[in-house]
Subunit: 150 residues, 2 copies
């Protein structure tokens, strides 16, 4: 009962539009979806990193396109941590649900940093991108360290 209540609170905290139950037919669909959204986000985040770290030439238009995609993707996974999605093909730690306020804080922090990364990409300078990339990457890592199994 306590577990169900906790999961319900988690679902309310993370669902953006409607509860996750209404958005995904099965828990495994939600897990697949949230992993997919991270995969797409990571690919575009990696391209920004390549530019920020000088492994790829800086191009303002490409940087902005990638930053906007990262920003769009960063909004998606949170609705997919509903009931029953703690088990299965996932590296999600149980702390996501047992310490849901901390998880929400970490996910909010990430979205704030991604927002700053977007502002930096719009500024159109590689220095602005470099300055914003590190904190954004750190916000990803913080969540992985605390809420994702190795």
């Amino acid at each position: 009962m306590k577990n169900i209540f906790r999961l319900a609170i988690a679902a309310m905290a993370f669902a953006t539009l409607v509860p996750a139950q209404a958005q995904f037919a099965k828990p495994e669909d939600a897990i697949k979806y949230r992993k997919a959204s991270y995969t797409v986000m990571a690919a575009h985040f990696g391209r920004l990193g390549a530019m920020a770290n000088g492994r790829a030439p800086y191009d303002a238009k490409t940087a902005l396109e990638n930053a906007e995609l990262v920003s769009t993707m960063a909004k998606l996974p949170w609705a997919a941590y509903g009931e029953g999605t703690d088990k299965g093909d996932t590296r999600a730690k149980s702390e996501i649900w047992t310490e849901s306020a901390k998880f929400k804080e970490a996910s909010d922090k990430m979205q704030v940093e991604i927002g700053k990364l977007n502002v930096a990409a719009k500024a159109g300078s590689v220095d602005a991108l470099k300055a914003a990339f590190g904190p954004a990457a750190a916000s990803c890592k913080a969540c992985h360290d605390n809420f994702r199994k190795d």
Copy 2:
């Protein structure tokens, strides 16, 4: 003439894409990325379908949010069919590469229909959504039938 103009725009859009080799470190990264982009797209497309088919209540704002996400995702997978991505954890048929003009035509058709779906979602009426959803779904299916293994 209108068609030629449209094709020219599509060609320009395609030409601005950086070669897939430059975007993905390994072919399996590209495969994982394109599958992830389809997964996210399908989830949001499914929510539009639920509204179009009366399985979920119509809500104009939710419809538009989902349509915009589908539209964003629909641009992504095509850069991830580069060299070496025909093998591995994929249901992609070899025809994608041996009949690449047909594949491009099918992917362009899909994007045109998704564009119309977006216009319909912006119109804010369930009837507009219903009218645009069927052709959009058919354009997805056509590509699956011809270019994806069962």
